[in-house]
Amino acid sequence: MAKSHVKRMVLDILKPHIPNALEFAQRLAQVGEDYHVSLTVLEIDEATQTIQIDVTGNSIHFEALQLAINEMGGSLHSIDVVEVSSQPTQNTQDQS
């Protein structure tokens, strides 16, 4: 069976004003070796911000991302976009 790798995720997140957008994006980018993070602020309230995070990478580790979001006080509302690609495992390659 082929192994799947998450290549892109778009997440809708509610977060406090602090850490700010730059610090938040930087922290998420540090979760993986090759993560590219694009952050868009969608809405600003008195104490919170709704943001959209677009993460791309070779193999995104969702649990680690979620942990970092929680650690910064954020709350994941929804996963809006996911791009996954499969890679043949060693056995699959041998059979073909």
Partner: protein, 193 residues
Amino acid sequence: MNLLDESHELLHLARAHGIARRYFVVNGFDGALTMLGLIIGFLLSSATPLSLMLNACLGAAIALGMSGISSAYISEVAERKLALSKLEESMIKDLQDSVHGRAARWVPFIIAVVNGAAPLFVSLFIISPLWLANAGVFLFVQPLYLAVILAFLLIFMLGVFLGRIADISWMHSGIQTVVVALTTIALIYIFAG
């Protein structure tokens, strides 16, 4: 991450650098003026044994340090708890395990240490000539006068530090704090002299 980096990050996250700096200056100034007042009081009094002056100053320095630690800790814990619960309400989420929760627990402690250490160390520095003289070290200037010089030097330095923070003339700011110290001495002379 070492303790210093962690403290720096938490202060940054809680946007508390300014508060810590303000506490450092305010309470450092408190310590310097208290010691100056005590020393001027001793200079105006009849001859007092050096050990007695040293103990009085040391007692005041320790009391200032304890007062600084306890007052800042109590007030900061209350403020941080309130801020965290308001944020939790807005987020509709428990934030105890987040950096916000960690900051609410540790920032009061860090600020309390700064608040208590500033007057304690400033006071200890000012009374160091008394301690040296008491230990038998020969000083070229009488220890009380040397302590007054050190107090003025520190008060001027605190003014310079404030001037640099506010990005105004350091000389002007330094002279301002020295004027406060001179006014304090004048008041002591009027009421005690």
